[in-house]
Amino acid sequence: MRKPQLRRLRGNCGGSFRAGLAQSQVDEVGRYVPGYRVAPDCGEAFSEAKIRSCPVADANRAASIINAYSRHRNGLATIRDTFPAPSCAVIEAVDVLHNTTEEMLLRVRESAQNG
């Protein structure tokens, strides 16, 4: 179901969160939602992060790097196939993606073991 009002409060896909957004808080920088509210099953780093704009919009901006990492992980292509001359930022981003993916898999395994 479409909720245009909620979309506006979330910053219209990329903008800052607006006043009235459920579970949002305000600090000296502006309005944010705690990471653990956005993704309750996230890792420690994201859990403590202050999310100030729609994380899906951010993920869309980084889609090319996420896709390249997924292809690399699945053995379909190397990172260098997509980024022949990667900047340091791409290498860092792949490092972050790899660490967070491994942590996510670990949480899934632990959750499965604990029933």
Partner: protein, 169 residues
């Protein structure tokens, strides 16, 4: 959050420095420009010197660090540098209480960082106003405070387009 970094180390960006007399923007606009690299924020800046820089790849960054003395830098200095207080007076008193050899180590590490910045500019700078350039041309900028601001701002732009940034981690 927009992505301010480049994915390719072959991509280039034209930047200006905020101490350029051709730039008449407000301090807020200049600060925002340094954060984003969006020259439109500066309004009319016709006549400003254009520095063309490229993003650094991992090997170029490593090479810059090695040239600056990564293998001979003071590890004690690096440790002290990471421990120094952020508040000015507290930092001054903290520095005053250091032993003589600790001060020397800290100074050695600061010198290494300065050299890293110069090597980063040297690796990244492509042209100045369309003419091939290196750090040597930047070092000739007068007066001296304009030279220091130019190097600082070029490093800031290079870091922004080459690295992920704190918000991405």
């Amino acid at each position: 959050m927009a992505l301010h970094f480049f994915t390719s180390s072959e991509s280039t960006l034209d930047v200006v420095v905020t101490c350029d007399p051709a730039i008449n923007a407000s301090d807020e606009a200049k600060n925002e420009y340094l954060k984003t690299g969006d020259r439109a924020l500066l309004g009319d800046h016709a006549g400003a010197t254009i520095f063309t820089i490229k993003a650094l790849g991992p090997s170029e960054r490593e090479e810059a660090e090695v040239k600056a003395g990564a293998y001979t830098r003071s590890e004690l200095g690096r440790l002290l540098w990471s421990q120094q207080p952020s508040e000015t007076e507290e930092r001054a008193r903290w520095h005053h209480a250091l032993e003589e050899d600790e001060r020397a180590a800290l100074a050695h590490y600061r010198n290494y960082l300065d050299n890293v910045y110069l090597e980063m500019v040297n690796a990244s700078l492509q042209t100045i106003d369309g003419q091939p350039a290196s750090i040597d041309q930047v070092q000739m900028i007068q007066p001296d405070d304009a030279r220091i601001v130019t190097i600082s701002e070029l490093v800031l732009h290079i870091r922004r387009i080459s690295l992920l940034g704190d918000s991405g981690k």
